[in-house]
Symmetry: C2
Subunit: 315 residues, 2 copies
Protein backbone atom coordinates (compact mmCIF):
# COMPACT_ATOMS: atom_id res chain seq x y z
CA UNK A 1 0.00 0.00 0.00
CA UNK A 2 1.31 3.40 -0.93
CA UNK A 3 -0.05 6.79 -1.91
CA UNK A 4 -1.15 7.57 -5.49
CA UNK A 5 -2.15 10.78 -7.24
CA UNK A 6 -5.73 9.44 -7.21
CA UNK A 7 -5.57 9.34 -3.39
CA UNK A 8 -4.47 12.96 -3.33
CA UNK A 9 -7.28 14.06 -5.66
CA UNK A 10 -9.78 12.24 -3.44
CA UNK A 11 -8.23 13.93 -0.39
CA UNK A 12 -8.66 17.33 -2.07
CA UNK A 13 -12.39 16.61 -2.52
CA UNK A 14 -12.75 15.28 1.01
CA UNK A 15 -11.09 18.19 2.81
CA UNK A 16 -12.34 21.02 0.55
CA UNK A 17 -15.20 22.09 2.88
CA UNK A 18 -12.89 22.38 5.89
CA UNK A 19 -9.48 23.69 4.82
CA UNK A 20 -8.45 27.08 3.53
CA UNK A 21 -7.35 27.43 -0.07
CA UNK A 22 -4.32 29.49 0.89
CA UNK A 23 -3.11 32.40 -1.24
CA UNK A 24 0.11 32.37 -3.28
CA UNK A 25 2.11 35.54 -2.71
CA UNK A 26 4.91 37.10 -4.73
CA UNK A 27 7.57 39.69 -3.88
CA UNK A 28 9.44 41.74 -6.45
CA UNK A 29 12.15 42.47 -3.87
CA UNK A 30 12.78 38.80 -3.14
CA UNK A 31 12.74 38.05 -6.89
CA UNK A 32 15.44 40.70 -7.28
CA UNK A 33 17.50 39.35 -4.38
CA UNK A 34 17.38 35.74 -5.60
CA UNK A 35 17.33 36.37 -9.36
CA UNK A 36 14.44 33.91 -9.64
CA UNK A 37 10.66 34.13 -9.93
CA UNK A 38 9.22 33.07 -6.58
CA UNK A 39 5.72 31.87 -5.71
CA UNK A 40 5.14 31.47 -1.99
CA UNK A 41 2.34 29.07 -1.04
CA UNK A 42 1.15 30.44 2.27
CA UNK A 43 0.25 27.49 4.46
CA UNK A 44 1.15 29.71 7.39
CA UNK A 45 -2.38 31.07 6.78
CA UNK A 46 -3.89 27.56 6.95
CA UNK A 47 -6.28 26.78 9.81
CA UNK A 48 -4.35 25.99 13.00
CA UNK A 49 -1.44 27.81 11.40
CA UNK A 50 0.18 25.08 9.28
CA UNK A 51 -0.29 22.61 6.39
CA UNK A 52 -0.68 19.88 9.01
CA UNK A 53 -4.40 20.60 9.12
CA UNK A 54 -4.78 19.18 5.58
CA UNK A 55 -3.38 15.77 6.43
CA UNK A 56 -5.10 15.59 9.80
CA UNK A 57 -8.44 16.51 8.24
CA UNK A 58 -8.07 13.91 5.50
CA UNK A 59 -7.19 11.25 8.06
CA UNK A 60 -10.03 12.14 10.43
CA UNK A 61 -12.69 12.32 7.69
CA UNK A 62 -11.47 9.05 6.13
CA UNK A 63 -12.45 7.07 9.24
CA UNK A 64 -15.66 5.06 9.13
CA UNK A 65 -18.30 6.03 11.69
CA UNK A 66 -17.58 3.14 14.03
CA UNK A 67 -13.85 3.98 14.19
CA UNK A 68 -14.45 7.70 14.43
CA UNK A 69 -16.78 7.30 17.40
CA UNK A 70 -13.80 6.24 19.55
CA UNK A 71 -11.83 9.34 18.63
CA UNK A 72 -8.28 9.82 17.36
CA UNK A 73 -4.95 10.00 19.17
CA UNK A 74 -1.38 11.10 18.64
CA UNK A 75 1.63 12.32 20.53
CA UNK A 76 3.03 15.68 19.50
CA UNK A 77 4.05 18.96 21.02
CA UNK A 78 3.84 20.77 17.71
CA UNK A 79 1.66 21.62 14.75
CA UNK A 80 0.24 18.11 14.28
CA UNK A 81 -1.27 18.22 17.78
CA UNK A 82 -3.21 21.42 17.06
CA UNK A 83 -4.16 20.26 13.58
CA UNK A 84 -5.49 16.90 14.75
CA UNK A 85 -7.36 18.51 17.64
CA UNK A 86 -9.08 20.97 15.28
CA UNK A 87 -9.83 18.30 12.66
CA UNK A 88 -11.43 16.08 15.31
CA UNK A 89 -13.42 19.00 16.68
CA UNK A 90 -14.59 19.77 13.14
CA UNK A 91 -15.93 16.22 12.77
CA UNK A 92 -17.33 16.30 16.30
CA UNK A 93 -15.17 13.51 17.70
CA UNK A 94 -12.62 13.32 20.52
CA UNK A 95 -8.89 13.95 20.02
CA UNK A 96 -6.51 12.47 22.60
CA UNK A 97 -3.16 14.26 22.51
CA UNK A 98 -0.14 13.06 24.45
CA UNK A 99 2.20 15.98 25.13
CA UNK A 100 5.46 15.95 27.08
CA UNK A 101 4.79 17.78 30.32
CA UNK A 102 7.58 20.27 29.56
CA UNK A 103 5.80 21.51 26.39
CA UNK A 104 5.56 25.27 26.02
CA UNK A 105 2.50 26.71 27.74
CA UNK A 106 1.36 28.40 24.52
CA UNK A 107 1.25 25.00 22.77
CA UNK A 108 -0.73 23.42 25.58
CA UNK A 109 -3.20 26.29 25.42
CA UNK A 110 -3.57 26.01 21.64
CA UNK A 111 -4.45 22.31 21.85
CA UNK A 112 -6.81 22.92 24.79
CA UNK A 113 -8.43 25.69 22.78
CA UNK A 114 -9.58 23.06 20.27
CA UNK A 115 -11.18 21.00 23.07
CA UNK A 116 -8.70 18.11 22.88
CA UNK A 117 -8.08 15.75 25.79
CA UNK A 118 -4.46 16.19 26.77
CA UNK A 119 -2.51 13.49 28.59
CA UNK A 120 0.87 14.64 29.82
CA UNK A 121 3.83 12.28 29.65
CA UNK A 122 7.43 12.38 30.72
CA UNK A 123 9.63 13.95 28.01
CA UNK A 124 11.48 11.65 25.62
CA UNK A 125 10.18 9.57 22.75
CA UNK A 126 9.87 6.30 24.67
CA UNK A 127 7.81 7.77 27.48
CA UNK A 128 5.59 9.57 24.98
CA UNK A 129 4.94 6.43 22.96
CA UNK A 130 4.25 4.37 26.08
CA UNK A 131 1.72 6.92 27.31
CA UNK A 132 0.11 7.07 23.87
CA UNK A 133 -0.26 3.30 23.79
CA UNK A 134 -2.01 3.38 27.17
CA UNK A 135 -4.40 6.07 25.97
CA UNK A 136 -5.24 4.10 22.83
CA UNK A 137 -5.76 0.89 24.83
CA UNK A 138 -8.13 2.68 27.20
CA UNK A 139 -10.13 4.66 24.64
CA UNK A 140 -10.00 2.62 21.45
CA UNK A 141 -8.96 5.81 19.63
CA UNK A 142 -7.31 5.52 16.20
CA UNK A 143 -3.66 6.54 16.03
CA UNK A 144 -3.06 9.29 13.48
CA UNK A 145 0.69 9.42 12.94
CA UNK A 146 2.00 12.87 12.01
CA UNK A 147 3.65 11.70 8.77
CA UNK A 148 3.90 7.90 8.42
CA UNK A 149 0.23 7.60 7.50
CA UNK A 150 -1.08 7.35 3.92
CA UNK A 151 -4.12 9.52 4.53
CA UNK A 152 -1.96 12.21 6.11
CA UNK A 153 0.47 12.12 3.17
CA UNK A 154 -2.41 12.34 0.68
CA UNK A 155 -3.83 15.34 2.53
CA UNK A 156 -0.49 17.18 2.48
CA UNK A 157 -0.24 16.52 -1.26
CA UNK A 158 -3.25 18.76 -1.90
CA UNK A 159 -0.92 21.76 -1.44
CA UNK A 160 0.71 20.88 -4.79
CA UNK A 161 -2.61 20.60 -6.63
CA UNK A 162 -3.53 24.15 -5.58
CA UNK A 163 -0.08 25.53 -6.36
CA UNK A 164 0.19 23.92 -9.81
CA UNK A 165 -3.39 24.81 -10.75
CA UNK A 166 -2.39 28.47 -10.57
CA UNK A 167 1.23 28.04 -11.73
CA UNK A 168 1.49 24.90 -13.87
CA UNK A 169 4.82 25.97 -15.35
CA UNK A 170 6.92 25.95 -12.17
CA UNK A 171 10.44 24.55 -12.65
CA UNK A 172 11.01 23.72 -9.00
CA UNK A 173 9.10 23.33 -5.75
CA UNK A 174 11.11 23.66 -2.53
CA UNK A 175 9.63 21.84 0.46
CA UNK A 176 10.78 21.63 4.10
CA UNK A 177 11.50 18.10 5.37
CA UNK A 178 10.77 16.95 8.91
CA UNK A 179 9.30 13.45 8.91
CA UNK A 180 8.72 13.81 5.18
CA UNK A 181 4.92 13.80 4.99
CA UNK A 182 4.63 17.13 3.20
CA UNK A 183 7.32 16.49 0.59
CA UNK A 184 6.01 12.96 -0.01
CA UNK A 185 2.51 14.17 -0.83
CA UNK A 186 3.72 17.16 -2.83
CA UNK A 187 6.22 15.15 -4.87
CA UNK A 188 3.63 12.52 -5.84
CA UNK A 189 1.13 15.14 -6.96
CA UNK A 190 3.70 17.32 -8.70
CA UNK A 191 5.28 14.46 -10.66
CA UNK A 192 1.79 13.49 -11.83
CA UNK A 193 0.86 17.04 -12.85
CA UNK A 194 4.09 18.24 -14.46
CA UNK A 195 6.58 16.66 -16.85
CA UNK A 196 9.45 19.00 -16.06
CA UNK A 197 9.20 19.76 -12.36
CA UNK A 198 11.98 19.22 -9.83
CA UNK A 199 11.12 18.73 -6.17
CA UNK A 200 13.83 19.93 -3.79
CA UNK A 201 13.84 19.18 -0.07
CA UNK A 202 15.10 21.67 2.53
CA UNK A 203 16.55 20.56 5.84
CA UNK A 204 18.52 22.25 8.63
CA UNK A 205 22.27 21.51 8.63
CA UNK A 206 21.86 20.64 12.31
CA UNK A 207 19.05 18.13 11.67
CA UNK A 208 20.09 16.65 8.35
CA UNK A 209 19.07 13.01 8.74
CA UNK A 210 17.06 12.97 5.51
CA UNK A 211 19.86 14.68 3.59
CA UNK A 212 22.26 11.96 4.77
CA UNK A 213 19.73 9.19 4.20
CA UNK A 214 19.05 10.48 0.67
CA UNK A 215 22.76 10.50 -0.20
CA UNK A 216 23.24 6.99 1.26
CA UNK A 217 19.92 5.76 -0.14
CA UNK A 218 19.17 4.23 3.22
CA UNK A 219 17.36 5.54 6.25
CA UNK A 220 19.74 6.96 8.86
CA UNK A 221 18.42 7.95 12.25
CA UNK A 222 20.21 10.65 14.24
CA UNK A 223 19.20 10.79 17.87
CA UNK A 224 18.32 14.17 19.40
CA UNK A 225 18.79 16.57 16.50
CA UNK A 226 18.44 20.21 17.45
CA UNK A 227 17.72 23.34 15.39
CA UNK A 228 15.73 26.55 15.46
CA UNK A 229 13.52 24.71 12.92
CA UNK A 230 11.57 22.92 15.64
CA UNK A 231 9.16 21.36 13.16
CA UNK A 232 11.97 19.58 11.28
CA UNK A 233 13.64 17.53 14.01
CA UNK A 234 11.95 14.17 13.38
CA UNK A 235 13.70 11.32 11.61
CA UNK A 236 12.32 10.68 8.12
CA UNK A 237 9.57 8.04 8.13
CA UNK A 238 9.44 4.45 6.97
CA UNK A 239 6.61 5.18 4.55
CA UNK A 240 7.82 8.62 3.49
CA UNK A 241 11.46 7.75 2.80
CA UNK A 242 10.91 5.44 -0.22
CA UNK A 243 8.52 8.03 -1.69
CA UNK A 244 11.21 10.70 -1.27
CA UNK A 245 13.87 8.50 -2.86
CA UNK A 246 11.64 7.93 -5.86
CA UNK A 247 10.22 11.43 -6.44
CA UNK A 248 12.58 14.03 -5.00
CA UNK A 249 15.36 15.48 -7.15
CA UNK A 250 17.70 16.62 -4.39
CA UNK A 251 17.92 17.78 -0.79
CA UNK A 252 19.77 20.90 0.36
CA UNK A 253 20.61 22.00 3.88
CA UNK A 254 20.78 25.49 5.38
CA UNK A 255 22.50 26.96 8.41
CA UNK A 256 20.65 28.39 11.39
CA UNK A 257 21.94 31.83 10.39
CA UNK A 258 20.46 31.59 6.89
CA UNK A 259 17.13 30.54 8.34
CA UNK A 260 17.09 33.63 10.58
CA UNK A 261 18.01 35.82 7.61
CA UNK A 262 15.16 34.26 5.60
CA UNK A 263 12.66 34.83 8.43
CA UNK A 264 13.68 38.46 8.57
CA UNK A 265 13.43 38.95 4.79
CA UNK A 266 9.99 37.36 4.74
CA UNK A 267 8.81 39.47 7.69
CA UNK A 268 10.18 42.74 6.36
CA UNK A 269 9.66 42.35 2.63
CA UNK A 270 6.58 40.13 2.38
CA UNK A 271 4.98 41.30 5.63
CA UNK A 272 4.10 37.80 6.73
CA UNK A 273 4.98 35.66 9.74
CA UNK A 274 6.53 32.26 9.11
CA UNK A 275 8.09 29.74 11.44
CA UNK A 276 11.76 28.80 10.99
CA UNK A 277 10.73 25.43 9.52
CA UNK A 278 9.02 27.33 6.68
CA UNK A 279 11.68 29.99 6.13
CA UNK A 280 14.24 27.27 5.42
CA UNK A 281 12.88 27.08 1.84
CA UNK A 282 14.13 30.60 1.15
CA UNK A 283 17.27 29.95 3.23
CA UNK A 284 18.52 27.25 0.86
CA UNK A 285 18.01 29.65 -2.06
CA UNK A 286 20.09 32.28 -0.27
CA UNK A 287 22.88 29.74 0.28
CA UNK A 288 22.80 28.45 -3.31
CA UNK A 289 22.29 31.60 -5.37
CA UNK A 290 23.37 30.23 -8.76
CA UNK A 291 21.44 26.95 -8.79
CA UNK A 292 18.00 28.53 -8.76
CA UNK A 293 18.71 31.66 -10.84
CA UNK A 294 16.28 32.41 -13.65
CA UNK A 295 13.86 29.66 -12.60
CA UNK A 296 10.19 29.74 -11.61
CA UNK A 297 10.12 28.40 -8.09
CA UNK A 298 7.34 27.47 -5.70
CA UNK A 299 8.27 27.70 -2.02
CA UNK A 300 6.06 26.02 0.55
CA UNK A 301 5.73 28.29 3.57
CA UNK A 302 4.59 25.41 5.71
CA UNK A 303 3.54 27.18 8.90
CA UNK A 304 3.43 30.37 10.93
CA UNK A 305 3.37 29.21 14.53
CA UNK A 306 6.15 31.13 16.25
CA UNK A 307 6.55 33.28 19.31
CA UNK A 308 7.11 36.59 17.56
CA UNK A 309 8.74 38.15 20.63
CA UNK A 310 11.26 35.33 20.89
CA UNK A 311 12.07 35.52 17.18
CA UNK A 312 12.38 39.31 17.18
CA UNK A 313 15.09 38.97 19.82
CA UNK A 314 17.13 36.74 17.50
CA UNK A 315 16.93 39.07 14.47
CA UNK B 1 -13.53 69.74 -9.45
CA UNK B 2 -13.96 66.72 -7.27
CA UNK B 3 -13.58 62.97 -7.56
CA UNK B 4 -16.29 60.78 -9.09
CA UNK B 5 -16.75 57.02 -9.30
CA UNK B 6 -15.92 57.34 -13.02
CA UNK B 7 -12.51 58.75 -12.04
CA UNK B 8 -11.90 55.77 -9.76
CA UNK B 9 -12.86 53.27 -12.48
CA UNK B 10 -10.47 55.03 -14.87
CA UNK B 11 -7.77 54.93 -12.20
CA UNK B 12 -8.31 51.18 -11.80
CA UNK B 13 -7.70 50.71 -15.54
CA UNK B 14 -4.69 53.01 -15.53
CA UNK B 15 -2.86 51.42 -12.59
CA UNK B 16 -3.81 47.78 -13.27
CA UNK B 17 -0.48 46.87 -14.98
CA UNK B 18 1.59 48.23 -12.10
CA UNK B 19 -0.17 47.55 -8.78
CA UNK B 20 -0.83 44.30 -6.97
CA UNK B 21 -4.38 43.04 -6.66
CA UNK B 22 -3.96 42.30 -2.97
CA UNK B 23 -5.56 39.25 -1.35
CA UNK B 24 -8.47 39.40 1.09
CA UNK B 25 -7.79 37.24 4.15
CA UNK B 26 -10.14 35.87 6.78
CA UNK B 27 -9.58 34.48 10.27
CA UNK B 28 -12.00 32.24 12.11
CA UNK B 29 -10.34 33.15 15.42
CA UNK B 30 -10.81 36.88 14.88
CA UNK B 31 -14.39 36.28 13.74
CA UNK B 32 -14.96 34.44 17.03
CA UNK B 33 -13.33 37.19 19.08
CA UNK B 34 -15.32 40.01 17.46
CA UNK B 35 -18.57 38.15 16.77
CA UNK B 36 -18.50 39.52 13.23
CA UNK B 37 -17.49 38.26 9.79
CA UNK B 38 -14.25 39.98 8.88
CA UNK B 39 -12.62 40.47 5.48
CA UNK B 40 -9.13 41.94 5.66
CA UNK B 41 -7.99 43.73 2.49
CA UNK B 42 -4.23 43.30 2.64
CA UNK B 43 -2.69 46.50 1.30
CA UNK B 44 0.27 45.71 3.55
CA UNK B 45 1.19 43.37 0.67
CA UNK B 46 0.95 46.21 -1.88
CA UNK B 47 4.13 47.26 -3.66
CA UNK B 48 6.24 49.56 -1.47
CA UNK B 49 4.28 48.12 1.47
CA UNK B 50 1.14 50.28 1.50
CA UNK B 51 -1.99 51.41 -0.44
CA UNK B 52 -0.14 54.67 -1.14
CA UNK B 53 1.35 53.09 -4.26
CA UNK B 54 -2.12 53.09 -5.89
CA UNK B 55 -2.65 56.83 -5.58
CA UNK B 56 0.94 57.68 -6.45
CA UNK B 57 0.82 55.45 -9.54
CA UNK B 58 -2.45 56.97 -10.72
CA UNK B 59 -1.06 60.48 -10.25
CA UNK B 60 2.24 59.73 -11.98
CA UNK B 61 0.64 57.97 -14.96
CA UNK B 62 -1.99 60.73 -15.33
CA UNK B 63 0.68 63.31 -16.19
CA UNK B 64 1.08 64.28 -19.84
CA UNK B 65 4.53 63.57 -21.33
CA UNK B 66 5.70 67.17 -21.13
CA UNK B 67 4.87 67.41 -17.41
CA UNK B 68 6.20 63.97 -16.62
CA UNK B 69 9.57 64.74 -18.20
CA UNK B 70 10.31 67.21 -15.38
CA UNK B 71 9.61 64.59 -12.73
CA UNK B 72 7.44 64.63 -9.62
CA UNK B 73 8.06 65.93 -6.12
CA UNK B 74 6.71 65.67 -2.59
CA UNK B 75 7.77 65.97 1.01
CA UNK B 76 7.21 62.94 3.19
CA UNK B 77 9.07 60.75 5.61
CA UNK B 78 6.56 57.97 5.28
CA UNK B 79 4.78 55.62 2.91
CA UNK B 80 3.95 58.28 0.31
CA UNK B 81 7.65 58.96 -0.26
CA UNK B 82 8.41 55.34 -1.07
CA UNK B 83 5.25 54.97 -3.13
CA UNK B 84 5.93 58.06 -5.23
CA UNK B 85 9.55 57.09 -5.74
CA UNK B 86 8.56 53.63 -6.99
CA UNK B 87 5.74 54.98 -9.18
CA UNK B 88 8.14 57.47 -10.80
CA UNK B 89 10.77 54.77 -11.30
CA UNK B 90 8.09 52.58 -12.89
CA UNK B 91 7.28 55.33 -15.41
CA UNK B 92 10.99 56.07 -15.87
CA UNK B 93 10.89 59.64 -14.54
CA UNK B 94 12.58 61.40 -11.63
CA UNK B 95 11.10 61.63 -8.14
CA UNK B 96 12.32 64.45 -5.90
CA UNK B 97 11.60 63.65 -2.27
CA UNK B 98 12.10 66.16 0.52
CA UNK B 99 12.71 64.35 3.82
CA UNK B 100 13.42 65.87 7.22
CA UNK B 101 17.05 65.11 7.98
CA UNK B 102 16.08 63.33 11.21
CA UNK B 103 14.07 60.70 9.29
CA UNK B 104 14.72 57.09 10.27
CA UNK B 105 17.64 55.58 8.37
CA UNK B 106 15.47 52.68 7.20
CA UNK B 107 13.07 55.14 5.53
CA UNK B 108 15.90 57.01 3.81
CA UNK B 109 17.25 53.70 2.50
CA UNK B 110 13.83 52.60 1.22
CA UNK B 111 13.42 55.80 -0.80
CA UNK B 112 17.00 55.64 -2.06
CA UNK B 113 16.37 52.03 -3.04
CA UNK B 114 13.79 53.28 -5.56
CA UNK B 115 16.36 55.67 -7.10
CA UNK B 116 14.66 58.87 -5.89
CA UNK B 117 16.55 62.16 -5.48
CA UNK B 118 16.39 63.00 -1.79
CA UNK B 119 16.75 66.55 -0.54
CA UNK B 120 17.08 66.80 3.21
CA UNK B 121 15.39 69.65 5.07
CA UNK B 122 15.25 70.83 8.64
CA UNK B 123 12.45 69.07 10.54
CA UNK B 124 9.09 70.83 10.88
CA UNK B 125 6.36 71.39 8.35
CA UNK B 126 7.40 74.95 7.36
CA UNK B 127 11.00 74.02 6.62
CA UNK B 128 9.88 70.96 4.66
CA UNK B 129 7.45 72.97 2.55
CA UNK B 130 10.01 75.70 1.90
CA UNK B 131 12.58 73.16 0.76
CA UNK B 132 10.00 71.44 -1.43
CA UNK B 133 9.11 74.75 -3.08
CA UNK B 134 12.76 75.37 -3.89
CA UNK B 135 13.11 71.90 -5.40
CA UNK B 136 10.03 72.42 -7.56
CA UNK B 137 11.20 75.87 -8.67
CA UNK B 138 14.56 74.46 -9.68
CA UNK B 139 13.38 71.28 -11.41
CA UNK B 140 9.92 72.08 -12.73
CA UNK B 141 8.72 68.85 -11.10
CA UNK B 142 4.99 68.39 -10.47
CA UNK B 143 3.93 68.33 -6.83
CA UNK B 144 2.07 65.13 -5.91
CA UNK B 145 0.41 65.81 -2.59
CA UNK B 146 0.00 62.70 -0.42
CA UNK B 147 -3.79 63.11 -0.07
CA UNK B 148 -5.14 66.49 -1.22
CA UNK B 149 -4.87 65.51 -4.88
CA UNK B 150 -7.78 64.18 -6.97
CA UNK B 151 -5.70 61.63 -8.84
CA UNK B 152 -4.29 60.30 -5.59
CA UNK B 153 -7.76 60.01 -4.08
CA UNK B 154 -9.06 58.23 -7.20
CA UNK B 155 -6.16 55.78 -7.04
CA UNK B 156 -6.83 54.94 -3.39
CA UNK B 157 -10.51 54.35 -4.22
CA UNK B 158 -9.54 51.33 -6.33
CA UNK B 159 -9.13 49.37 -3.08
CA UNK B 160 -12.93 49.45 -2.66
CA UNK B 161 -13.60 48.23 -6.20
CA UNK B 162 -11.47 45.13 -5.58
CA UNK B 163 -12.95 44.50 -2.13
CA UNK B 164 -16.58 44.84 -3.24
CA UNK B 165 -16.06 42.82 -6.40
CA UNK B 166 -15.30 39.83 -4.18
CA UNK B 167 -17.63 40.73 -1.31
CA UNK B 168 -20.46 42.92 -2.62
CA UNK B 169 -22.62 42.31 0.44
CA UNK B 170 -20.39 43.94 3.07
CA UNK B 171 -22.33 45.94 5.67
CA UNK B 172 -19.39 48.09 6.74
CA UNK B 173 -15.89 49.06 5.60
CA UNK B 174 -13.53 50.37 8.27
CA UNK B 175 -10.78 52.66 6.98
CA UNK B 176 -7.89 54.39 8.80
CA UNK B 177 -7.85 58.20 8.52
CA UNK B 178 -4.66 60.26 8.27
CA UNK B 179 -5.06 63.02 5.70
CA UNK B 180 -8.19 61.29 4.47
CA UNK B 181 -7.14 60.26 0.96
CA UNK B 182 -7.84 56.57 1.43
CA UNK B 183 -11.25 56.95 3.06
CA UNK B 184 -12.26 59.58 0.51
CA UNK B 185 -11.57 57.32 -2.43
CA UNK B 186 -13.05 54.26 -0.76
CA UNK B 187 -16.22 56.02 0.36
CA UNK B 188 -16.93 57.41 -3.12
CA UNK B 189 -16.48 54.00 -4.76
CA UNK B 190 -18.36 52.10 -2.06
CA UNK B 191 -21.37 54.42 -2.06
CA UNK B 192 -21.56 54.02 -5.84
CA UNK B 193 -21.29 50.23 -5.69
CA UNK B 194 -23.52 49.42 -2.70
CA UNK B 195 -26.88 50.72 -1.51
CA UNK B 196 -26.52 49.58 2.07
CA UNK B 197 -22.87 50.08 2.95
CA UNK B 198 -21.59 52.13 5.87
CA UNK B 199 -18.08 53.59 5.77
CA UNK B 200 -16.48 54.01 9.18
CA UNK B 201 -13.29 55.98 9.78
CA UNK B 202 -10.70 54.92 12.38
CA UNK B 203 -8.43 57.43 14.07
CA UNK B 204 -6.09 57.34 17.09
CA UNK B 205 -7.51 58.98 20.23
CA UNK B 206 -4.22 60.92 20.42
CA UNK B 207 -4.52 62.24 16.84
CA UNK B 208 -8.26 62.72 16.52
CA UNK B 209 -8.49 65.89 14.42
CA UNK B 210 -10.80 64.31 11.83
CA UNK B 211 -13.03 62.84 14.53
CA UNK B 212 -13.41 66.32 16.07
CA UNK B 213 -13.81 67.97 12.67
CA UNK B 214 -16.48 65.44 11.68
CA UNK B 215 -18.48 66.08 14.87
CA UNK B 216 -18.19 69.87 14.44
CA UNK B 217 -18.71 69.64 10.69
CA UNK B 218 -15.77 72.00 10.23
CA UNK B 219 -12.08 71.38 9.73
CA UNK B 220 -10.13 71.59 12.98
CA UNK B 221 -6.35 71.51 12.90
CA UNK B 222 -4.44 70.20 15.92
CA UNK B 223 -0.75 71.04 15.88
CA UNK B 224 1.76 68.28 16.57
CA UNK B 225 -0.41 65.23 17.18
CA UNK B 226 1.47 62.17 18.34
CA UNK B 227 0.60 58.46 18.27
CA UNK B 228 2.12 55.07 17.59
CA UNK B 229 0.05 55.29 14.37
CA UNK B 230 2.70 57.35 12.58
CA UNK B 231 0.82 57.28 9.29
CA UNK B 232 -2.24 58.97 10.79
CA UNK B 233 -0.79 62.17 12.23
CA UNK B 234 -1.64 64.56 9.39
CA UNK B 235 -4.54 66.99 9.59
CA UNK B 236 -7.44 66.04 7.33
CA UNK B 237 -7.21 67.73 3.91
CA UNK B 238 -9.13 70.56 2.29
CA UNK B 239 -10.23 68.34 -0.58
CA UNK B 240 -10.73 65.19 1.46
CA UNK B 241 -12.77 66.68 4.33
CA UNK B 242 -15.91 67.59 2.34
CA UNK B 243 -15.84 64.13 0.72
CA UNK B 244 -15.66 62.54 4.17
CA UNK B 245 -18.52 64.69 5.49
CA UNK B 246 -20.69 63.60 2.57
CA UNK B 247 -19.88 59.89 2.36
CA UNK B 248 -18.67 58.62 5.72
CA UNK B 249 -21.16 57.29 8.27
CA UNK B 250 -19.14 57.81 11.43
CA UNK B 251 -15.62 58.03 12.84
CA UNK B 252 -14.38 56.08 15.87
CA UNK B 253 -11.16 56.50 17.81
CA UNK B 254 -8.98 53.89 19.53
CA UNK B 255 -6.40 54.02 22.30
CA UNK B 256 -2.72 53.26 21.77
CA UNK B 257 -3.18 50.15 23.91
CA UNK B 258 -5.96 48.80 21.68
CA UNK B 259 -3.81 49.38 18.62
CA UNK B 260 -0.99 47.34 20.15
CA UNK B 261 -3.43 44.59 21.07
CA UNK B 262 -4.73 44.59 17.49
CA UNK B 263 -1.21 44.38 16.03
CA UNK B 264 -0.49 41.40 18.26
CA UNK B 265 -3.73 39.61 17.34
CA UNK B 266 -3.06 40.15 13.64
CA UNK B 267 0.56 38.94 13.97
CA UNK B 268 -0.30 35.87 16.05
CA UNK B 269 -3.62 34.83 14.59
CA UNK B 270 -3.43 35.97 10.96
CA UNK B 271 0.38 35.61 10.64
CA UNK B 272 0.77 38.92 8.88
CA UNK B 273 2.67 42.12 9.63
CA UNK B 274 0.74 45.38 9.72
CA UNK B 275 1.74 48.84 10.81
CA UNK B 276 -0.10 50.47 13.72
CA UNK B 277 -1.95 52.75 11.29
CA UNK B 278 -3.52 49.63 9.74
CA UNK B 279 -4.20 47.73 12.96
CA UNK B 280 -6.38 50.60 14.19
CA UNK B 281 -9.24 49.21 12.08
CA UNK B 282 -9.38 46.11 14.27
CA UNK B 283 -8.67 48.21 17.38
CA UNK B 284 -11.92 50.17 17.04
CA UNK B 285 -13.82 46.89 16.75
CA UNK B 286 -12.19 45.64 19.95
CA UNK B 287 -13.24 48.84 21.73
CA UNK B 288 -16.80 48.77 20.40
CA UNK B 289 -17.75 45.10 20.56
CA UNK B 290 -21.53 45.46 20.30
CA UNK B 291 -21.75 47.91 17.40
CA UNK B 292 -20.21 45.60 14.81
CA UNK B 293 -21.54 42.25 16.06
CA UNK B 294 -23.13 39.98 13.46
CA UNK B 295 -22.10 42.23 10.56
CA UNK B 296 -19.98 41.54 7.47
CA UNK B 297 -17.08 43.93 7.74
CA UNK B 298 -14.25 44.89 5.44
CA UNK B 299 -11.13 46.15 7.20
CA UNK B 300 -8.50 47.98 5.20
CA UNK B 301 -5.04 46.86 6.36
CA UNK B 302 -3.47 49.91 4.82
CA UNK B 303 0.24 49.13 5.20
CA UNK B 304 2.92 46.92 6.68
CA UNK B 305 5.93 49.17 7.05
CA UNK B 306 7.09 48.73 10.63
CA UNK B 307 10.29 47.94 12.43
CA UNK B 308 9.35 44.48 13.69
CA UNK B 309 12.02 44.56 16.43
CA UNK B 310 10.71 47.85 17.79
CA UNK B 311 7.12 46.62 17.75
CA UNK B 312 7.99 43.27 19.35
CA UNK B 313 9.44 45.18 22.30
CA UNK B 314 6.09 46.92 22.85
CA UNK B 315 3.98 43.75 22.79
Amino acid sequence: MTVTFEDIKKAAERIRPYVKRTPILTSQTLNNITGAELYFKCENFQKAGAFKFRGATNAVFSLIEEQASHGVATHSSGNHAGALALAAKTRGIKAHIVMPKNSAEVKKQAVKGYDAEITFSEPGMEAREATLNEVIKKTGATLIHPFDNENVIAGQGTVAIELLEQHPDLDVIIVPIGGGGLISGISIAAQALSKKINIIGAEPELANDTYLSFKEKKRISIPSQTSICDGLLMTVGQITFPIILENVTDIFTASEQSVLQAIQLILERMKIVVEPSAAITLAIMLENPTIFRGKKIGLILSGGNIDIKAIAKLL
